[in-house]
Amino acid sequence: MVATMTNPLRVGLRQERVIAPQCLVIFGASGDLTHRKLVPALFELFKQRRLPSEFALLGCARRPWSDEDFRGKMAEALSSTIKDDPQAWEQFVGKLFYEPVDLQQPEDVVRLSGRLEQIDQQCATRGNRTFYLSVSPKFYGSGCRSLADAGLLKDPKRSRVVIEKPFGRDYGSAQALNRVVQTCGQENQIFRIDHYLGKETVQNIMVLRFANTIFEPIWNRNYISSVQITAAETVGVEERAGYYESAGALRDMVQNHLTQMLAITAMEPPGRFDPEAIRNEKAKVLQSARLADELEPWNCCIRGQYGPGGSAESPLAGYRHEPGVDPNSTTETYVAMKLFIDNWRWQGVPFYVRTGKRLAKRMSEVVLTFREAPVHLFDAATGGPTANQLILRIQPDEGAEFRFEVKSPGSGMRSRPIDMEFSYDESFGEPSDEGYVRLLADAMLSDPTLFTRSDEVEAAWRLYTPLLELIEDSPWQLPVHPYESRTWGPAAADALLAKDGLLWRRP
């Protein structure tokens, strides 16, 4: 099909940054994330020729696998991807190695050190290493400590650690974990990953705001009346009940992904495109953010939990009936809340944030609703004039749309809303990379721009501390409202906006 061929004039124009010779070490290599996200992302980088020829991936976990076992497991997990390009896989798989390691056992870490030196010799990776902690969060601190004790983080230019979410369970534990990891290495060696920041569309919010002059002058309380940030999933808890039961939607989605979208949407323009300048602005805006009612958080936060749903042909189980879930669980699978940002730009503008599982549609978006025109000169075809909206679609159907009023055709002077659309697919015709592709490359390049800094993580946890304390101390004040699977969440969430005369956007 001609229409789907790669644009031959595009080839080679993008100046990709060059990743230095490198060994990527994944702890937790037998886990789900490794074969679902990390190895596919590395294979994609390999196919795009963005990995150096001197590259090795060393998988580490407690299972007594050999290199061949690991390669076989990865081939099995990626079989559908490999069949499109078996030759590339043949070349890539030779770069995969495995070492049984328990990071809690010092002798294992010593053996790991030796294996890394051997790989340096074999693959010319020159002692340049990225350690990826895809292990249980309770081992983040001790894992870093083991690596530091073995001298593997000694060189700040040639060693770095990537830490998966969740970084802590609350403000106190995040602070404690930060203290531990910062004794193991310098801040610029620590890469706290949030895969939402790897999404093109999230990064595009910055470009849209700071590369155009038309948006920034109106990106404030004078023109914007409210902001909605939504991350909706159609899937349930699936096989993650063990983790999810202790986390819930607030820790799993809001504290990290949604808060990062909030920060990028609301931050001040950085002085330059520099990791520290950007992270300074994100940290500052999070430090200015607060729950709309910190003293009585139940007035600004709604928790929900999905119940049964679906159709008679394909019924869906409620959360409490999912395998591994406590039948009396009060873990929330849905959260909606209202926030304010106390600074000159956003004072008084409500930010409504919601996320949930088993909702009606899978989508993430940021919606900026502008103030209404001060005087309504025209009749509106739809009954009342529609406020201008800028909708930034994070996924799926990545793009943006701008809704504004135009004259409805005909002899009268009636207005009606129309949408001006931008779609990544239509404009660029090539799918954007998975977030992990970008973030793994950035970590190996030692570029921390799209990773969260210690103060950002702490500010994000501090923002939700009143809620976490309330859930801990008197959960009845923040009840879990049931909602039917594949609906848009509990009615109480609609009531949260109705109090302000608003509705959630129904995409």
């Binding site: 001609v2 229409a3 789907t4 061929m5 644009n7 031959p8 004039l9 595009r10 080839v11 080679g12 124009l13 100046q15 060059v18 239509e426 404009s427 660029f428 015709g429």
Partner: protein, 428 residues
């Protein structure tokens, strides 16, 4: 940001003393007082600045001689074009302007600070050593050798103690040739060395030959000098596997990007396999840049060159697509009122695609600085028209060189390597 002078007044030394002096300067015993020598790269610049030297000598430009492409220099060049009755489309620093100004006479003199001005774009990269070869108009002038240590100021991206040094070799052609013997010890093999030939390809072939031997990486500007020599040099470097980069090619980046953007939407890509005609307009009679762009398009779309011929106004050629259909190409020199400093810059491009069954497409790219009346004229009424304006680049040569050095392009850009031999063949 304006260029910075070295902090230290340059020290004039006998040529033979220079290597020893610099060795002492960066020795471990001296590092406390002078900072640490940056372990980055060395840049050797051939900096004749003929137009500037002549304009200053004729009294048409105040000194000092800096080697920078300043606005007063360009304005003085444009004035000289008019005073010498040269065609108005003559680039202001062209060789014909230099010759005309030399005939004007005059004996004004000015301080020669070439090599002592360091553009912030370059100093931000913390070069370990900048060596400037500064030939003088007076071919008999004896060799002067100047040396100074240099530390980037904090606001230039410095702030660390990594420092460099500048070395200036100034004199007549013969004296410079003799002075080259000190270069070898000044370019340590442990660091990459770049040679920026900031002059015409044909003005000192012997010197160029000696300076650009492998593994030194060469930066040239194919807008300077005879187009045949420019493209032949590019071709031979590419064919011999010697690293070469071209500022004229770099200046095409917005044209390549804009053209690629037109075909990014999937519904536009079909047109690429149905192209039957390519027209390129360039400023004046210097086709190198236009031919490089045509060669890049032909290479990317898999066309093979069947024939090419010089015409009164430029070059015409015939390509064949992979399906054996012919593609006609014409490059035309067009006059412009206010010519670019660089000769032969792109004015416009037109691609016509005519599928056998379907709507034909015409894509016109036009430089922001001028019009494309010729390309927009006639015969396209039944074609779907896409027009784009290509932004003008305002980067100085120093900024472009810094872009190359900072981008880690230590080998020839693969797109240039593919396009250069074909461009040379197009010119014949």
């Amino acid at each position: 940001m304006s260029p910075q002078l070295t902090l230290q007044t340059p020290l004039e030394l006998a040529p033979a003393e220079v290597p020893h002096y610099l060795e002492q300067l960066w020795s471990p015993e001296q590092q406390g007082s002078t900072g640490t020598g940056a372990n980055t790269f060395c840049l050797l610049i051939w900096q004749p600045a003929w137009a500037e030297q002549q304009l200053i000598r004729s009294g048409r430009l105040p000194g000092p001689i800096t080697g920078q492409q300043s606005a007063p220099l360009i304005a003085a060049g444009r004035q000289a074009v008019m005073d010498a009755d040269l065609p108005l489309s003559t680039p202001p620093l062209d060789g014909s302007v230099v010759k005309a100004v030399a005939d004007f006479g005059g004996q004004a003199s000015a301080e020669d600070l070439r090599g002592q001005y360091i553009d912030p774009a370059l100093s931000a990269l913390m070069p370990r050593r900048l060596i400037t070869l500064a030939p003088t108009i007076d071919a008999e002038q004896s060799l002067e050798t100047l040396v100074a240590a240099y530390c980037p100021l904090p606001e230039e991206g410095g702030g660390t103690t990594a420092c460099g040094d500048v070395v200036v070799l100034r004199g007549g052609h013969g004296a410079l040739n003799e002075g080259l013997s000190i270069l070898e010890p000044l370019l340590p093999s442990s660091m990459p060395a770049w040679v920026w030939w900031n002059g015409c390809m044909d003005e000192a072939p012997d010197l160029m030959q000696r300076l650009t031997s492998a593994p030194r990486r060469l930066i040239i500007d194919t807008a300077m000098g005879d187009p045949h020599q420019c493209l032949d040099l590019l071709r031979s470097r590419v064919e011999n596997g010697q690293a070469v980069n071209d500022l004229n090619w770099l200046r095409l980046r917005s044209w390549r990007e804009t053209l690629a953007m037109v075909f990014d939407p999937p519904q536009q890509r079909d047109a690429l396999i149905h192209i039957t005609r390519l027209d390129i307009d360039v400023e004046g009679h210097h086709p190198a840049q236009g031919l490089l762009l045509a060669a890049w398009i032909a290479d990317r779309l898999g066309w093979t060159l069947v024939s090419s011929a010089a015409t009164d106004d430029g070059t015409s050629a015939l390509f064949k697509r992979s399906d054996d259909t012919e593609v006609r190409f014409q490059l035309m020199a067009v006059p412009t009122g206010q010519p670019n400093v660089h000769a032969g810059q792109m004015v416009g491009l037109r691609l016509i695609a005519e599928p056998e069954n379907g709507q034909g497409v015409c894509v016109i790219l036009c430089a922001e600085s001028g019009g494309c009346m010729r390309l927009e004229g006639g015969g396209m009424a039944n074609l779907e028209l896409h027009e784009e304006v290509v932004p003008v680049q305002h980067d100085t040569p120093e900024m472009d060189v810094a872009r190359l050095l900072g981008g880690g392009h230590d080998s020839t850009n693969p797109l240039l390597a593919a396009a250069a031999p074909l461009a040379a063949r197009l010119l014949g």
